[in-house]
């Protein structure tokens, strides 16, 4: 059992939790993930580690409530316990290297995942440019945190309520067209965002890493649910990833696979909403 030590609501459907998991906190690295099962009837879901504190023995998770399992997790409060918390899984991001200028792109909840990796890039001595995007200002998260670690910070909103009116790709495209030398782009967010970031950088041959949120059961290479086509080869997100060369990922296939259980997810979500006494 893994106790929730702290909980914060970042916005309407994005929650921030600090979980007591000292053995994982001792060894995890930026870019890795945990698999969580909330209770006995729960499903196993992967969540990328948003932060960790080796001394306090804690792991931070940040997640968007998109269906039954994330809503169930989000309904837990400080002092509640998560039944299973497995990790650290997946390969860490290669953050020790000095690339030069690194652009860290986070979309929506993805910014929470970008944050520890971006911080590691900065600590390794890279010049860090961050682009934090969301649909609107109230959905932007980690604004102060990103600003603190970045040499240059950009924010974008789809509706123009904050920062640049447009998408993360608007700013990234600008930087490239201004001739800024970029040595690495690290992007985490919705699949279409990662797809379009990769499209822009591919033209300039800028190395690009993306972190994929495939469906998983075990998270240790056993089920193959998370298989993804990378450069024409079948890879498993859980053991070969979750990060891959953004230029090689088949995003359309990935989007289809993410919708594999859509019908069942809708049933679970509806039942959950009904059990909470509210409409959908």
């Amino acid at each position: 059992m893994y106790e929730i030590l702290f909980k914060k609501i970042l916005n309407e459907n994005t929650k921030f939790m600090v979980v007591d998991a000292p053995e994982i906190a001792r060894v995890c690295k930026p870019g890795q993930f945990v698999v969580i099962r909330v209770n006995e009837t729960g499903e196993r879901i992967p969540l990328t580690i948003a932060d960790f504190d080796r001394e306090k023995g804690t792991i931070t998770i940040v997640f968007q409530e998109v269906g039954k399992s994330t809503k169930l997790l989000g309904s837990l409060e400080k002092g509640d316990k998560i039944l299973n918390f497995v990790g650290p899984l997946g390969k860490p991001t290669p953050t020790e290297k000095v690339y030069g200028t690194v652009v860290a792109v986070g979309g929506g909840c993805g910014t929470a995942i970008v944050y520890p990796v971006a911080r590691a890039f900065k600590e390794a001595g890279n010049h860090l440019i961050s682009i934090n995007g969301a649909r609107s200002m109230d959905l932007l998260i980690y604004r102060r945190e990103m600003e603190e670690i970045s040499d240059e910070t950009y924010e974008t909103t789809d509706d123009g309520s904050c920062g640049v009116h447009g998408f993360v790709t608007t700013v990234l495209g600008d930087l490239i067209s201004k001739g800024r030398k970029i040595d690495l782009v690290f992007a985490v967010g919705p699949v279409p965002m990662m797809k379009f970031v990769s499209k822009i950088t591919a033209a300039q041959e800028i190395p690009t890493l993306v972190s994929l949120n495939s469906i998983m059961v075990d998270g240790t290479g056993m089920c193959g649910a998370c298989r993804v086509n990378v450069g024409g080869q079948m890879k498993f997100s859980c053991v070969d990833g979750p990060e891959f060369d953004g230029h090689e990922v088949d995003y359309d296939e990935l989007m289809g696979r993410l919708n594999a259980y859509k019908e069942q997810e809708e049933i679970s979500d509806r039942l959950w909403n009904e059990s909470q006494g509210g409409a959908a």
């Binding site: 053995e23 994982i24 060894v27 099962r37 009837t41 729960g42 499903e43 196993r44 039954k68 399992s69 169930l72 039944l83 299973n84 918390f85 497995v86 990790g87 650290p88 899984l89 059961v217 075990d218 240790t220 290479g221 056993m222 089920c223 193959g224 649910a225 298989r227 993804v228 086509n229 079948m234 498993f236 053991v239 296939e253 289809g256 696979r257 919708n259 594999a260 259980y261 069942q264 997810e265 049933i267 679970s268 039942l271």
Partner: protein, 477 residues
Amino acid sequence: MSDRSNKAPAKKRERKPPTKKVPMPEQDPLERRKNFDEVALGYDAEQAVAEAEKCLQCRNPKCIDGCPVEVNIKEFIELVRVRRFMEAALKIKETNSLPAICGRVCPQETQCEQSCIYGIRNEPIAIGRLERFVADYARAHDEPMPEILDRIGRKIAVIGSGPAGLTCAGDLARLGYDVTIFEAFHKPGGVLVYGIPEFRLPKDIVMAEVEYLERLGVEIKYDYVIGKIRTVLELIDEDGYDAVFLGTGAGAPNFMRISGMNLVTVFSANEFLTRVNLMKAYEFPEYDTPVRIGNSVAVIGGGNVAMDAARTSVRLGADEVTIIYRRSMEELPARLEEVHHAEEEGVHFRLLTSPTEVLGNESGEVIGMQCIEMELGEPDESGRRRPIPIPDSESTINVDTVIVAIGNSPNPIIPQTTPGLDVTYWGTIIVNEETGMTSLPGVFAGGDIVTGAATVISAMGAGKRAARGIHKLLNGE
């Protein structure tokens, strides 16, 4: 079967006609297609005694040599014959920690029962059914704990709680070692729980056998992926374990090298079965884990896992389930009993057929599978006749779900994180066959991670050998 009663009495002394095993009651196929309850119902005491009475009690029994964990079959059957069922169970447990499981899933027909001397003229003694009977009897009648040697204060780490790990842990605990099992999942049992379906091996039985080990003093840590949260070398160097046994199984599913393998309704048998068995997706939405099943399912492969996937598909409500296998019925690797059960439940077999492409629609769902017909050529290295495609024999079959059950490769996590651990080209761990020790002193391995995908009982045999190897090593032999 009953023709003997109709024959006229022989004039001269004629040998008695061959006998058959006392039949085991089973759930009706039409009924069981709709539920996940156990198919075979087990002997009652009378049936067990009747079967045991046929045993010849050979002076040099061959059956025991056929058992990878050396169960004293002759003696336990004699105890059944005289109705000392509890003692019979304890006799088995002297060498086999998991008899209720073995009695259900062992391929007895190629092991103990194959070498049964009574079986030369007749159907062999139903050793598996008797083993199951006494194990179930003991569990229902408060079996006493075996004698455990005094704690000797030495720590053993067992990685993985599948058949190999459980056996190794049980044998070492009985010798007085402090054994800790590290399990990646949230439940113990490995393939016994995520792979083998409830209707073939009820999970309560696995849990009971594991609880028995816990009463022997074995500790199990869940959610613990060795190689990630802790490495094998750290267990030895920092955590004070005197030896480590790796029983992590053949966990990585193989897919075919044909187009369409990443379609949304193509599943590995591992994923499909894990969702249903471990995560209880058959009880969705009470359980949150979903499973998808179409109307027409193709299961690629001919092993026990393929049979399990096919029979599970039937129970989830698929109208039409077909096994696609590239050789003929004769080469089909699944146990005869499983094939027979699958046929009874309405599973179709399309033999000498190999998929060449899975076809999908825009949303990535399967709409058909192109297959080619095969014929059998000369035997290959495995001794089985090699399937050869027949030119221009391709056709498309109408399916909306494909389950791939063509075997597993070793899970790479431990080899990748354990420097100095020698593996084969295929990624299986190399061990000394007698002791089970790997290239790293004090690190042992056994089961599918060494042999590639094999059987529950062979993994148990390997766990037993390694336990012996560990005991010898730590006692300076």
